[in-house]
């Protein structure tokens, strides 16, 4: 008795639990890798999986075995030149004759054990650090919807997508084009033949015979033109288009004066990433503008933003001026939703802080959707903090937070996340 069973529809992720066990066991290493990835990645590139590598010795499952040494006598196939008693120099490194089996060698020079985290897993590890409530996680990790849109015609595709009308129209055109000359000559020849016959030429007349032969030949040629050719086939082309959504611009403002060290920049980066992810969820098209400042502000690319170092004093208002200018020049006229994320260690020139507050309250806040400020410091608040504290009195869409570790970032966005209807 034989059974033929179709198991394809039964669960295919039998190993999901084992995979999860593996991740659980190497959580520390994976978190490190995720941390490194966040540092290394562009903000806009955060929502991908990640390759994680773990030293092979850590994932090794030890077993008793022989190491190389002592006496090994191994039979190999493919002898070409050796005779009994030949002496062979000991090969260096792995492989080669008489080196024993690979499985027995201790010095395997394998690379790290590398595997890929899925996007969801990566995001989980990323959010774990940030201590977000679960609700936010699901909101942020949900994928955007696409819609299938027709986009013209293609020369290749699946048979179900053949566009009959287009294909036949093409075929017709080709038949006309290819057969044009021949058809014209047939008409001419037939007319000539008719003429001749009218003039009373006998059917055996060599000219009549000649013409009949020609007409026959031309008809054959016309018939040889295929009705439809693979070349004529046209397929409906469809592309995936993201559902149209409103657009947003995100400004990252960071103090790059000497006091901002690498750890602070890393914390700032996570702060920016979080805002970016949120915007990504809500808006389909996002532009990111990086503004850095010390005593003067400049617009830079992401690489320079995070990685180049400068020193000197701090004038925050320079960045706000530049921000205002950029909004007016490029993102004005109400078609853009502007979000600003500012990170600083709190230093500012005394007189400048008042100016900053005025700029914010009077000029910038009316133009932006949301303004977030984090002060990455564990010291006492300075004058910039005090001045900024007055902003929420005038505008509710302003959030500020003093943070020490990435875990403190989330409260800055609490309002933002709460307000946003799904």
């Amino acid at each position: 008795m034989t059974y033929l069973i179709d198991r394809r529809l039964q669960g295919k992720n039998k190993s999901a639990v084992n995979r999860e066990r593996f991740l659980r066991r190497y959580k520390a290493q994976i978190k490190d890798a995720v941390g490194r990835a966040i540092k290394g990645r562009s903000i806009t590139d955060i929502e991908n999986g990640e390759k994680v590598s773990i030293p092979v010795k850590d994932v090794n499952e030890p077993t008793f075995g022989h190491a190389h040494g002592g006496v090994w006598e191994v039979v190999n196939p493919g002898n070409q030149e050796y005779q009994k008693g030949d002496q062979i120099a000991r090969p260096r490194g792995g492989g080669g004759a008489g080196r024993g089996k690979a499985g027995n060698s201790d010095q395997t020079t394998e690379d790290d054990f590398i595997f890929e985290l899925s996007r969801e897993e990566f995001m989980n590890y990323f959010f774990e650090d940030l201590e977000l409530p679960n609700l936010v996680k699901t909101q942020l990790t949900a994928t955007t919807e696409f819609k299938n849109q027709r986009a013209g015609y293609n020369m290749s595709g699946t048979p179900s997508n053949i566009h009959v009308l287009r294909s036949l129209r093409g075929a017709l055109g080709r038949r006309i084009a290819v057969g044009g000359t021949a058809r014209k000559r047939v008409i001419d020849a037939e007319r000539e033949l008719e003429q001749l016959l009218l003039e009373g030429a006998p059917p055996q007349d060599p000219r009549v015979v000649e013409l009949k032969k020609l007409i026959h030949h031309l008809h054959t040629r016309l018939l040889a033109i295929p009705f439809i050719d693979p070349f004529d086939l046209r397929y409906t082309n469809r592309i995936k288009v993201p559902k149209p959504m409103t657009q947003a611009v995100m400004f990252c403002i960071m103090d790059v004066s000497g006091s901002m060290d690498e750890t602070r920049k890393d914390t700032a980066k996570r702060f920016f990433i979080l805002l970016y992810l949120f915007l990504k969820r809500v808006y389909d098209k996002i532009e990111v503008v990086f503004i850095r400042h010390h005593t003067a502000a400049s617009e830079v690319d992401e690489q320079e933003f995070f990685h180049s170092r400068e020193s000197g004093g701090t004038v925050v208002s320079s960045a706000l001026h530049l921000l205002n200018k950029i909004i007016d020049e490029r993102y004005g006229a109400g078609s853009w939703n502007s979000y600003v994320a500012q990170a600083s260690d709190g230093d500012n020139w005394d007189n400048d802080s008042v100016l900053c507050r005025q700029l914010l309250v009077n000029t910038i806040m009316p133009k932006v959707q949301y303004y977030t400020y984090v002060e990455i410091t564990d010291g006492p608040p300075q004058n910039l903090w005090e001045q900024y504290s007055q902003v929420p009195d005038h505008h509710t869409h302003f959030a500020m937070q003093k943070i020490v570790t990435p875990a403190d970032i989330y409260p800055v966005f609490r309002e933002l996340f709460k307000k946003q209807p799904k």
């Binding site: 034989t2 059974y3 033929l4 069973i5 179709d6 198991r7 394809r8 295919k12 992720n13 039998k14 190993s15 639990v17 084992n18 995979r19 999860e20 066990r21 593996f22 991740l23 659980r24 994932v59 090794n60 499952e61 030890p62 077993t63 008793f64 075995g65 022989h66 190491a67 040494g69 002592g70 006496v71 090994w72 006598e73 191994v74 039979v75 190999n76 196939p77 493919g78 002898n79 070409q80 050796y82 009994k84 008693g85 030949d86 002496q87 062979i88 120099a89 000991r90 004759a97 008489g98 080196r99 024993g100 089996k101 690979a102 027995n104 201790d106 054990f113 590398i114 595997f115 890929e116």
Partner: protein
């Protein structure tokens, strides 16, 4: 063979197409079964299961069993397989077949009709008949019960995870896996138990095992005069080769559920033990039969030329043996050697040469089916090669033996494929497949029942080969299971101590 007239079309001929359908698989399977039965193959009933590539990877991960318990190491295997499969570094195996009754063979969805036929012939008739016939499988595995046992193991371990926590279970399994190759009885014959009995006796066993342990470690002092007159009795009386068995029975600190888990790993290890000893034979047998069966179907006209071309392409890939100096060389291909030997035995039976008559007087000219059947039933790789490897094959493979002695500056070619070397090469090759030589010989030597309860393992050196560096890691696992200090003594065959390794358990309440 050379006549050019087209063969009469077989009424059950397979259409020349590469897409398979359920009807066509049924059809080709009927034909394969008919031919296999004509050749006298005795098999368990077959259960063919169509699965997807992902499911194949799942099956890989759980050592080919349809169900298995959960452990991170399986996740690791899955990740490795998935990675190399996705990068295209390796194709998945065409087939996985499970030694169970009914015999389960997986057919992958992606395969063409030809490949499905190949897999059916190879797995469902080749491997299947081997599982049913070979003495090692008959002795050590119980095809009726294995799937049930795996279900039991999965549920039991899941239950333990709930009761004692995932971490505790994981640590224990790590330790058991580290010595699972030492969880087999090599010589003792097992008694067969049905699944129902197994379950019924489990509770009983837990209680009993615990009471035995208590007996051994009883701390109530014996009467003094007895102590003085007797030398402490040696324990165990005889060295024990099955480490997991010893731990299951005698480890002082294990809880009953832990003993049961040790037993599960041991049972599964024992189940796979025959497979590790019959690689060449098992694959050779299955390859020989798919080749023979499909050729028979071709001769009968059931399958056509296109089918054969595709089949032969796969077949030749499978049985290719790269020479030792090839960059693709990674040891002897068991398919190549096994197939060549099976084919060669048939040749010796059907068309013996003078050399064959001299080397194999018993089988030269005998009925090839009976001879092959005898060879399949009564040997394992080691003895099979020692018995049946012919000089002709040694010549064809250009086998040569190389002696690598670390006392010598250079390697020495000790034998090649000539009259002087045949027997030597054959003996060496057979030794190479002796599991007893391939794995270090490590046994439980003694337990200090009087004092610190330390367990001493003894590694008897083979050919002066040292233990690998992982040994100390493994020893830590043994110590975790045993619960007290563990020593590993390495002795040379004369019994002189060469070196020792030891793992000391932390004393409770103390830092070091």
């Amino acid at each position: 063979m050379n006549d050019m007239t087209p063969k009469p079309r077989h009424p059950n001929a397979l259409p020349e197409q590469s897409e398979w359908t359920f009807e066509l698989i049924e059809q080709i399977h009927q034909e394969i079964r008919r031919v296999a039965e004509n050749f006298g193959l005795d098999t368990y009933p077959n259960q063919l299961e169509i699965i997807t590539a992902e499911q194949m990877m799942d099956a890989y991960t759980s050592v080919g069993m349809p169900v298995s318990y959960n452990h991170w190491s399986f996740g690791k295997h899955f990740l490795t397989t998935e990675k190399s499969y996705k990068r295209g570094q390796m194709g998945l195996a065409y087939e996985i077949v499970i030694n169970s009754n009914p015999c389960i063979a997986y057919l992958m969805e992606e395969n063409s009709l030809t490949m499905q036929a190949l897999v059916i012939a190879h797995a469902a008739y080749g491997h299947n008949s081997f599982f049913k016939g070979n003495y090692l499988f008959r002795t050590w595995t119980d095809a009726e019960a294995i799937v049930d046992y795996m279900v039991f193991a999965k549920n039991y371990i899941a239950e333990c995870e709930q009761r004692h926590g995932i971490d505790a279970v994981e640590l224990l399994l790590d330790s058991c896996h580290a010595i699972q190759n030492y969880g087999v009885d090599r010589y003792k014959r097992p008694a067969k138990l049905s699944m129902a009995q197994e379950r019924a006796r489990q509770k009983e066993r837990e209680a009993y095992a615990q009471s035995q342990v208590n007996e051994l470690w009883r701390t109530v002092p014996r009467r003094e005069e007895e102590e003085e007159t007797k030398v402490a009795p040696r324990f165990p009386v005889e060295p024990e080769e099955n480490l997991l068995y010893f731990i299951e029975k005698y480890a002082p600190l294990l809880e009953p559920w832990q003993r049961e888990m040790v037993r599960i790993v041991r049972k599964i290890s024992q189940y796979f033990y025959p497979q590790r000893q019959t690689q060449v034979m098992n694959e050779g047998w299955a390859t020989f039969w798919h080749y023979t069966i499909l050729n028979q179907l071709y001769d009968e006209g059931v399958v056509g030329d296109g089918f054969m071309m595709e089949f032969l392409k796969s077949h030749t890939n499978v049985v290719y043996q790269p020479p030792v100096n090839s960059p693709y060389y990674s040891g002897i291909n068991p398919y190549a050697l096994g197939f060549a030997m099976m084919t060669d035995i048939r040749r010796i039976c059907e068309h013996p040469t003078d050399e064959d008559r001299e080397w194999f007087p018993d089988i030269a000219g005998s009925d090839w089916r009976k001879t092959l059947d005898f060879a399949m039933r009564n040997f394992k790789d080691e003895s099979f090669i020692a018995q049946f490897l012919s000089p002709k094959l040694i010549r064809e493979f250009h086998f040569f033996a190389v002696l690598d002695d670390d006392n010598n500056e250079k390697l020495t070619v000790s034998a090649i494929h000539d009259d002087l070397g045949y027997r030597y090469v054959r003996q060496q090759l057979a030794e190479q497949y002796n599991l007893g030589n391939r794995e270090p010989n490590i046994q439980v030597w003694s337990v200090n029942t009087q004092d610190d309860r330390a367990l001493t393992l003894r590694h008897t050196e083979f050919q002066r080969r040292p233990l690998n560096q992982q040994a100390s890691e493994v020893l830590k696992h043994v110590a975790r299971l045993w619960g007290f200090d563990v020593h590993l003594e390495t002795v040379n065959p004369a019994g002189d101590l060469v070196s020792t390794l030891e793992v000391r358990r932390e004393k409770r309440g103390r830092g070091a």
